[in-house]
Point group: C2
Chain length 330, copies 2
């Protein structure tokens, strides 16, 4: 079974799996306030572009449940403040802003706190449920690309732990495995935070899918060895022209895949495509603390890089395998 | 001052800096027997292609000093056994075999144990002294490539800690710094064993040279940022056609440098060129324990990869900046 990284707690708080502690320990945390949720997103207890969108939406519901009987003005003021605080946690993934805007719109019509809160609750549930369905559609779109015997390379974690469902980059892999195809997944360990070694290898292992971790620097030699049939990665934001931001290391991997003539796919829900961003140069890149890299020295620690569209064989979305430029999502 | 990773102990043993413990602690170890020396090389207490050649040569002297008054036959038999044991420790770097063959030849002429041992001692001292001079010549050959204001990217550790002198890839950097040029060195942290973050950043910091560590996966984004003027790496073995083996990650870095039209240099003493190896495919690649990558999962952990000669702008050797194919060293 794939892990489920998010849920409602019995008291209506937001329950998350603390992904910093995996795979040594499975710690669940109940987040009660907006500040709790913001902190959990900022410190990567909850991570993965689709999941932080879901967490922000559900977090609004959890954090505002204590003031649900407030008059409209008070509730809306608190909601706007909460949205601003959550939007500010991480700059690169567009899903976070997308989910928060959707929540703001859902609360837009007339009504007092109780009604607004109920609308937020049902919108958050819809975002979560839709994400699960989208993951499955991404999986179906990518399934023909993962034949029996496929050896696939992936980077970071774009799996169940990054979404409300079976992941984005890993969705076609899960469905191919369900269909009885024999697979082997190579996983970049993904420094500095080792999401590949800690998260992807863990969730694939739980699902019984064979996988092998490699140091990020070994990817070129692995691609040259001839055993890899395709590379699939996720995305934090896809620009209109198809340039996309994803975990640092993705851009180099795309060049190396092209160099070795190996197909390189990006898998993401349509909500990751940001048509307001014309190209990769306009995507804000989060730089994180040098301490994540090393305690000894100065470090340059961008969390993401941008892969130009020309390196991407196709975008596996919930609408199928697409090529840019993208139109606005309907 | 650059660190000195090797020396004779006062009692004639081999004293090495245990590079596994750096930079947290500077532990020196005295190696008394051939088995001690073999273990130190195998476990990377002593590492770096030129240095393991020096350590093997000096190790023979240290390990055989207790039987120096033995008759010729006994001494030679022990010497051959010691050479076989040391040659077997690590397969990729050619300097190890090169140094051991040189030691075997030095002991070849007639004479009893005492005389043979004295010849070994003077040959080992010569190898060590020559390496120091070679590093300096490599530095001089590469110096024009490192202008004032240069920003250089390097991988792993090909510095003082890898040689008997000021390093190979770092030699031009040390000399440029001595010449008063302002420099900034970016260092791949170099997973799995972090020789870049632990060793290169440490020795550059001691020398007062500005440096910044990056996760290996960030190299492509750094090269794309336009700030890097050149890449310099070391080598463990250079084939006759110029293909060369170096720490895993080097091959990918070479492709990425070429892709971004940034010069990519390999710096090594001439003893690293193995004219008996026609091309990269014939270089044996050491695979190390998966446990170096992760304690949780299966891992693919080649210690080296092979960079085809076509990606190399030039080879900075103790003879100058050269291009393959190489002739036999005179």
């Amino acid at each position: 079974m794939v892990p489920q990284p998010i849920a409602w707690s019995p008291t209506g708080g937001l329950r998350v799996l603390d992904q910093r502690a995996l795979p040594e320990t499975c710690v669940e945390r109940d987040l009660e306030t907006i500040a709790d949720v913001a902190e959990a997103i900022r410190t990567l207890q909850v991570r993965g572009a689709p999941l932080i969108g879901i967490a922000a939406a559900m977090g609004l519901v959890a954090g505002l449940r204590t003031i649900r009987s407030a008059p409209r003005e008070t509730f809306v003021a608190q909601l706007d403040e909460a949205i601003a605080m959550l939007a500010d946690t991480r700059p690169t993934a567009v899903n976070l802003r997308w989910a928060l805007e959707r929540m703001r719109r859902a609360a837009g019509s007339p009504g007092d706190g109780d009604l607004l809160w109920a609308r937020l609750k049902s919108e958050a549930d819809a975002i979560w449920t839709e994400d699960r369905a989208m993951c499955r559609r991404i999986g179906l779109a990518g399934l023909p690309l993962v034949p029996d015997g496929a050896q696939v390379l992936t980077h970071c974690n774009a799996g169940a732990l990054a979404t409300g469902g079976i992941g984005t980059a890993l969705a076609p892999i899960y469905l191919a495995h369900e269909a009885g195809r024999k697979l082997h997944v190579y996983v970049d360990e993904t420094r500095p935070l080792l999401q590949g070694a800690r998260l992807t290898a863990w969730e694939l292992g739980r699902a019984g899918i064979q996988c092998t971790v490699i140091p990020d620097g070994a990817a070129a030699a692995l691609l040259a060895s001839g055993r890899i049939g395709l590379v699939i990665v996720g995305a934090d934001r896809i620009a209109k022209n198809g340039d996309f931001a994803n975990k640092i290391g993705t851009y180099g991997l795309a060049i190396l895949a092209q160099h070795h003539r190996i197909p390189f796919y990006c898998a993401a829900p349509r909500s990751t495509i940001d048509c307001a961003t014309a190209s990769g140069g306009a995507i804000p890149i989060e730089h994180r603390s040098p301490a994540e890299v090393t305690a000894y020295h100065d470090a340059w620690n961008p969390a993401f890089d941008v892969t130009p569209a020309r390196y991407v064989t196709g975008f596996i979305t919930d609408r199928g395998v697409e090529r840019p430029p993208f139109g606005a999502a309907e």
